[in-house]
C-alpha cells in the first residue's frame, strides 16, 4: 500500500480492564491500517474487542477499570493540523499518535476529525435537547461555524440524510423521531464537521430489516458523495459484504484475518471465518442444508486459552495450536491470517487455500 495513502494506523494497541476478578485482555496487540477514502469492516462476536478497539482510538475507555496499556494510534497529521506533534521521520512520518495527545487536544479531534455513529440511537441522543441544538453543537464547539451558519448547515445535512421537512424537524425532540430517523440524525451529526474518519459501531443492529436496508443504502450513497473513510463494525458478515473494501475479522481481542472483501468471502484463510460463513443460512440457498455451527462458545477473556485463542473450538486444531499462538502471516496481497494451517508442514484442509 502507498505510504502516503494511510489515514490511520493502529499499531500494537493493547487495552485491558482491571476488574476484581482479574485482568480482562479486551484488545491484545491490535494492528490495523485504514487507508484514505476507504470503507473497512470489522466483524466479530460480542466480546471480540471490536468496540473496545474503536473506543480506545477515540480515547473513550472508562478508566478505571479500563487502561490502554500500550501501542500507538497514528493519525494523518496534516489532516489534524498539528505540525508540531508530527513524527519527523521513520515509517510514521507526518503522523500524530493520538494516544500521546493531551485530553484537551483530543477533544479537538473527537467529532471534528473522527466521528462516531453509535449502535443504539434511542440512548445516544440527549432526550431533553432539541435535534437542532444537538446537531449544531459540534460545529460551534469546533469553531467551524457561527450558530446561524451551523443551523443552516444542519438543515442541509438533515435533508441530505433524507429527513422530510428538515427545517421544522430541527425544533423537535428525539422522542418525536422514530428509530430509523434517529439513526439518520446520528449519521447527519457525525458527518456535520466533515470528519476524515467515521466509525459506525453496529449502526443497524437495533433496527428492523427494512429500515436497516434504508440506512445501509444511505451510507453507501454518502460514501460516494463525501470524502470520509468509514469503519463499519458489525457482528454480521452479510452487512459488511455490500459496503466494505477491506474486512477484518476479530476474535478474543485479536485480528484473526484481514483481507479485501472479495478474497475474504471467496477464499477465507482462517477456520473461524470459514465457520462463520457456514453457520449462517443464506436466503439465496437452493435447498435446505443443515447448518454447520462452530461448536463451543467464545473464550473467557479473564483466562484465555494458551496458544491460539480459537483452538478449543477449531475443527482442525493441531498440537501446536494449543501451545503457541500463531502470528499473522501474509497469505496473499493484503491478505493476512493468524493460523498455523498456513505453515508448510501443516496438513491440507479441504476448502482452505494454503499459502506457505
Amino acid at each position: 500500500m502507498d505510504e502516503n495513502n494511510v489515514l490511520m494506523r493502529i499499531q500494537g494497541l493493547t487495552t485491558n480492564f482491571h476488574t476484581y476478578a482479574g485482568v480482562v485482555h479486551a484488545v491484545d496487540d491490535m494492528t490495523l491500517t485504514i487507508p484514505k477514502d476507504s470503507v473497512v469492516g470489522i466483524v466479530g462476536e460480542s466480546g471480540s474487542g471490536k468496540s473496545v478497539t474503536m473506543m480506545s482510538v477515540m480515547r473513550l475507555i472508562p478508566s478505571p477499570p479500563g487502561r490502554i496499556e500500550g501501542g500507538h494510534v497514528w493519525f494523518d497529521g496534516t489532516a489534524l493540523r498539528m505540525p508540531d506533534r508530527m513524527e519527523k521521520d521513520g515509517p510514521n512520518k507526518g503522523m500524530v499518535d493520538l494516544l500521546s495527545l493531551s485530553a484537551e487536544a483530543m477533544m479537538k479531534v473527537r467529532g471534528r476529525h473522527i466521528a462516531m455513529i453509535f449502535q443504539d440511537p434511542m440512548v445516544s441522543l440527549n432526550p431533553v435537547l432539541t435535534i437542532g441544538l444537538q446537531m449544531t453543537e459540534s460545529m460551534v464547539v469546533h469553531g467551524l461555524a457561527t450558530n446561524k451558519e451551523a443551523w443552516k448547515r444542519a438543515v442541509d445535512m438533515l435533508a441530505l440524510v433524507g429527513i422530510p421537512n428538515p427545517e421544522e424537524r430541527m425544533r423537535d425532540y428525539p422522542h418525536q423521531y422514530s428509530g430509523g430517523m434517529r439513526q439518520r440524525v446520528m449519521i447527519a451529526m457525525a458527518l456535520s464537521c466533515n470528519p476524515e474518519l467515521v466509525i459506525a459501531d453496529e449502526p443497524t443492529t437495533s433496527l428492523d430489516v427494512t429500515v436497516q436496508a434504508q440506512i445501509l443504502e444511505l451510507m453507501k450513497e454518502l460514501k460516494v458523495k463525501l470524502k470520509s473513510s468509514i469503519i463499519i463494525i458489525s457482528h454480521d458478515l452479510s452487512i459488511v459484504a455490500g459496503m466494505a473494501d477491506k474486512v477484518v475479522v476479530m476474535y478474543a481481542g485479536r485480528v484473526l484475518e484481514e483481507a479485501n472483501v472479495y478474497d475474504l468471502y471467496e477464499k477465507p484463510g482462517h477456520p473461524y471465518t470459514m465457520g462463520l460463513m457456514k453457520s449462517v443460512p443464506r436466503l439465496d440457498a437452493e435447498d435446505r442444508e443443515r447448518l454447520v455451527p462452530i461448536e463451543g462458545s467464545p473464550p473467557d477473556l479473564l483466562a484465555p486459552p494458551i496458544g491460539c485463542k480459537f483452538a478449543p473450538r477449531c475443527k482442525y486444531a493441531m498440537n501446536i495450536c494449543r501451545e503457541q499462538e500463531p502470528q499473522l502471516v501474509t497469505v496473499g496481497e493484503g491478505h493476512r491470517a493468524r493460523c498455523f494451517l498456513h505453515h508448510p508442514t501443516a496438513p491440507a484442509v479441504p476448502g482452505f487455500v494454503k499459502v506457505g
Binding site: 462476536e45 460480542s46 422514530s178 428509530g179 430509523g180 430517523m181 428492523d208 430489516v209 427494512t210 429500515v211 436497516q212 436496508a213 434504508q214 445501509l216 443504502e217 457482528h235 454480521d236 458478515l237 452479510s238 452487512i239 459484504a241 455490500g242 472483501v261 472479495y262 468471502y265 465457520g275 462463520l276 460463513m277 453457520s279 449462517v280 443460512p281 443464506r282 436466503l283 439465496d284 440457498a285 435446505r288 443443515r290 447448518l291 454447520v292 455451527p293 462452530i294 461448536e295 462458545s297 467464545p298
Partner: protein, 324 residues
C-alpha cells in the same frame, strides 16, 4: 396432514391511552387484526414481520398468555378460548413456549434444576427423585452437563441459557412449541447450534413449531411454510422454498430484498427495493390496505378497499389487489 392448530379470525386489541400524560383518552391498538391460519402436525411454520406487526402477540395468544379479543384458537379439536381455567391448564402442558431473551426469562434466584423441574412440580408428576432424574435427562437432551443441575443461570452463557429455556419447555413432553425469536439474542456462531438442536428435537420428539422471527434467512431455513405479517394482518402465506423465488406481495418482495447476503459479488450490485418511511401506528392504521402508505405500486383502490387474503393455488395465499 392432520391439523394440530387452527387459528380463526383472531383479534387482539390492547387499550392504550393516547390522551397524553394528563388526559385520559383510550383507543385500541390493533396488535392482531383478523388473522387465520392452520398448522399441521409435525410442521414448522415461520411467522415473520417487523417490530410491531403482531407476531409475538399471535404466539402469546396461542399459548394463553393473552386472552383474545375475538376469534377462536382450536388445538386438537378443542376451542382454547372457551375452556375453563382448569381445562386450559391441562392443555397448556402440551403447548409450550421458548422466549426471546434468555437473560430475562430465567429466574436468577432459582437453580437450573428447579427451573426445569418447575413445570413438573406444578402438574405434580412423579416423585421428587423421578423428577430430578427427568431433569438430568432433559439437560443431556439439550446438550448441557447434567452435573450443572445446581448452578444458577448467571453461571451460564447466553447460548447455554437458551438451552435451559428449551429444556424447561420440553419438560412436559409438549406437542406444540411457540418459539418466539429464540436465537435473535445470541451470537452468530451460537445461533446455528440452537437451530440445529431445535431441528433434531423436532425429528426425535415429533414436535410442531411456530417459529417467530424477523430474520428471514433463518426462517426460510427452518420453516416448511412462512406467514408474513404486516400491521396485525397476514399479507402472504407460502411454502418457504417458493416464497423466496416467487413472492407476490410487494411487502414480501421488499422484505426479501432488504436481507443482506454474505457475498460481496452479489451484494455490491444488488438492486434493493427500499421501502420509504416507517411502520404506521397500529393505533390508527391506514384505511384499506394497511401497507399502501409504503407500497411502491399503490393505487387509489388500495385506500378504499381492503384486499382479501386470496388463494393463488397450492396453498399460496396473498392479500393484494394486484397480485397475480
Amino acid at each position: 396432514m392432520d391439523t394440530i392448530l387452527k387459528v380463526e379470525h383472531l383479534k387482539k386489541y390492547f387499550a392504550v391511552n393516547v390522551g397524553g400524560p394528563f388526559a385520559r383518552h383510550m383507543a385500541s391498538l390493533k396488535a392482531v387484526d383478523d388473522v387465520s391460519f392452520e398448522v399441521g402436525r409435525g410442521e414448522t411454520v415461520g411467522l415473520v414481520g417487523e417490530t410491531g406487526c403482531g407476531k409475538t402477540t399471535v404466539g402469546r395468544t396461542i399459548v394463553g398468555l393473552y386472552a383474545p379479543t375475538a376469534g377462536t384458537i382450536t388445538y386438537c379439536d378443542e376451542n382454547l378460548c372457551a375452556l375453563t381455567r382448569e381445562a386450559m391448564r391441562k392443555v397448556r402442558s402440551k403447548l409450550q413456549m421458548i422466549f426471546q431473551d434468555p437473560y430475562a426469562s430465567l429466574n436468577p434466584r432459582m437453580t437450573v434444576g428447579n427451573i426445569v423441574e418447575e413445570p413438573m412440580d406444578i402438574f405434580s408428576i412423579g416423585t421428587m427423585a423421578e423428577r430430578r432424574e427427568r431433569v438430568q435427562e432433559l439437560l443431556r437432551t439439550v446438550g448441557l452437563n447434567p452435573e450443572h443441575i445446581n448452578r444458577f443461570p448467571h453461571e451460564f452463557s447466553g447460548g447455554q441459557r437458551q438451552r435451559i429455556g428449551i429444556a424447561r419447555a420440553l419438560a412436559m413432553n409438549p406437542e406444540f412449541i411457540v418459539a418466539d425469536e429464540p436465537i435473535s439474542a445470541l451470537d452468530v456462531s451460537i445461533q446455528a447450534q440452537i437451530v440445529n438442536m431445535l431441528e433434531d428435537l423436532q425429528q426425535n420428539l415429533g414436535l410442531t413449531y411456530l417459529f417467530i422471527a424477523h430474520d428471514l434467512a433463518m426462517v426460510k431455513h427452518i420453516s416448511d411454510r412462512v406467514i408474513v405479517l404486516y400491521l396485525g394482518k397476514i399479507v402472504e402465506v407460502d411454502e418457504s422454498k417458493d416464497i423466496y423465488k416467487h413472492p407476490l406481495h410487494p411487502y414480501t418482495k421488499a422484505l426479501l430484498s432488504a436481507v443482506p447476503i454474505p457475498d460481496p459479488r452479489i451484494e455490491m450490485q444488488r438492486q434493493r427495493i427500499v421501502l420509504k418511511g416507517d411502520l404506521p401506528s397500529p393505533v390508527n392504521p391506514p384505511s384499506g390496505c394497511h401497507f399502501r402508505t409504503r407500497c411502491p405500486i399503490a393505487q387509489p383502490i388500495c385506500a378504499e378497499q381492503e384486499p382479501e387474503l386470496r388463494d393463488m393455488g397450492s396453498g399460496h395465499m396473498v392479500s393484494c389487489h394486484f397480485a397475480s
